[in-house]
Symmetry: C2
Subunit: 423 residues, 2 copies
Amino acid sequence: MNMTFQKRGETPARTFDEKLDLLAEVAVKVGLGLAHDQELVMTAPIEALPLVRRITRQAYKAGASIVTTLFTDEESTLLRFRHAPQSAFDVSTGWLFEGMARAFEKGAARLAIVGENPALLAGEDPDKVARANRARSGAYLPALKYIAGFEINWTIASFATAAWAKSVFPDDPAEIAVARLWHAIFAASRIDTIDPIADWKAHNENLHARASYLNDRSYSALHFRGPGTDLIVGLADDHFWAGGATRAKNGIVCNPNIPSEEVFTTPHRERTSGTVTSTKPLSYQGTLIEQISVRFEGGRIVEARAKTGGEVLNKVLDTDDGARRLGEVALVPHSSPIASGGLLFLNTLFDENAASHIALGQAYAKCIRGGGAMSEEQLAAKGANKSLIHIDWMIGSNAIDVDGIRKDGGAEPLMRKGEWAYG
Amino acid sequence: MNMTFQKRGETPARTFDEKLDLLAEVAVKVGLGLAHDQELVMTAPIEALPLVRRITRQAYKAGASIVTTLFTDEESTLLRFRHAPQSAFDVSTGWLFEGMARAFEKGAARLAIVGENPALLAGEDPDKVARANRARSGAYLPALKYIAGFEINWTIASFATAAWAKSVFPDDPAEIAVARLWHAIFAASRIDTIDPIADWKAHNENLHARASYLNDRSYSALHFRGPGTDLIVGLADDHFWAGGATRAKNGIVCNPNIPSEEVFTTPHRERTSGTVTSTKPLSYQGTLIEQISVRFEGGRIVEARAKTGGEVLNKVLDTDDGARRLGEVALVPHSSPIASGGLLFLNTLFDENAASHIALGQAYAKCIRGGGAMSEEQLAAKGANKSLIHIDWMIGSNAIDVDGIRKDGGAEPLMRKGEWAYG
């Protein structure tokens, strides 16, 4: 008889293909919780085809009725910026996003594979980039509603494209950069564990316990303090902390981000004040925005600058009124597996899970108690923000303390030097 | 001073990339006649990415506002047949086709790149294949209306995928099969000429002259005679012969097929009688249907058999009532460049241009005089057929004679031994 003994937490020896298979299985079973006879709409960079096919196989095995992948090609995107007429950049594909919304309305699940080149549009005309983004955000709104409102089960996973890997590891040859990025993705996504599905279950229980504590305390605000940061984030009335697996309104439990380390809730759109400095660069649609520093008054950013990418930042803030207000605040310990790797992924899916963060723009209805059944007016009355954008940026580090502010004004420690410190 | 003299018709020496560039240019300028500020919706097999990018570049240079490519992946299609539950096969992506219809409604042009593996579904359960096809055809109808009705400019071009090439040249190694198929595609698509754009212009003039003659004669029927064939195809009232470049209802002149050698019109749905035998195999969604032989009575197929693929053929005929009636008849001389190559492409886009053919199913409104402005009822009153399907199959060869039957019953020779013989 032959048996292999493995210590808990030791990484099993697996081939790349086996790891990719496991990532696909985690995406479908943990990420989506895909139901029998459910339709799946996937978006993916065209380079992600090997993962797309594995996810497609897992989805059909889980009982999917039909899987449709909408592939994007960054080369084609660049061709538009290089050759399309000036008049083109206010146009977007509303018909496609309305179609996606219709699929969600009829019960489809949604899986996004990300793997963008963070520097794709760095050399293009910022005015064209801003116009194209605004047009796209507006056109996407019908589909985004189903996602932001958790009407359906959805998830985001990732694929190490060559362009992304070369941005993260510029000094390595492409093959090595890709291998290193995959290594980091598999570790962060908990694929390098003995039983990834079981590991995600335990991880979800931890995140639920954190959220549960914060919900019990029901703070009126959070206070972030550290170098360049002294920020009060007022929380929305009846705000609700969430994290890890969540039940969508269609009744299906999903993990919206693979990986995920955060617990998060909805700030009140009018109750943030003070100054805050970003602790990691923000990679926003092709531009790296570094050392963001902003000042809030009455919930609104009244002053914003950045060491690089300031022009893009200010264009983003001008998208609409809600773009200058917070739609999310999230707490992530500095010892999270993603932060402890020390790598800047140049992709929000990962970098936001390495540090506490705030997001400009649209709030999640599900982070208001009973918010899923509320009208936009009712959500706004609770303090939830509304915007075409939702952009996370990192404000946590091992130099940041966070207090919870009670309704009576008293302060309780939540994090010290970036680590959980309550209880 | 350096000059190169070339005889007319001599093939210029071009690299493969130069030919692919020219194919993209012909697809956009001749095929679509793409307008400034027009949106373009493209469909393509994922392997066709090199051509997709070239077409995208040409489209933006021609002033396209935004180009969206919906890629299909045959591996993913197979995964569905292998792993999806039985209940899946009556489902299709109506939301996507409704979205496409909405894009066309708003003025988008349409380009399809074909390159299917003709044998893809040959080993799959015919019942699943038939159900999936029926579901897809029904779901596609909202988009098909804009195409069949020539509401918009559209075209079909092709890409030599490895699977397609291996079906056409099964005895060659993949690289050689692909090279041979490309050679045939470039020749058939008139890319191997000194000036492909000018060559298409001259070719369109020839096709227009043929159609014009047939429109002047205004026959009531065509009579096909040859081995296994004695068929009267009654033509629709106020039928109109078309061929080559055509003006869509949006005012744009397009060439709907690259290549195209046919002149075609609409038969009367109740006036075809007699027997007809196919002269080339029909490759229908993964199945090769060979030596089709059918008998018509009062426009309807009352008896159908085939040497291979008969089961699939009979399932197709059961799609709806219109699937047993003709929606198109087309004349192609046996000396067309595609027929003279002698190659069976296993793809209708090419094979239908190698021989006179008929199509089961949906008629083109534009092949009725004034049909573009008619209601479905008005078109039906003229004899135009309606169906979820439109399937061309080849009935011409160098052994087939065709007569035009005048309204007074007299016959006039149109083709003898597969060649034009009028005037």
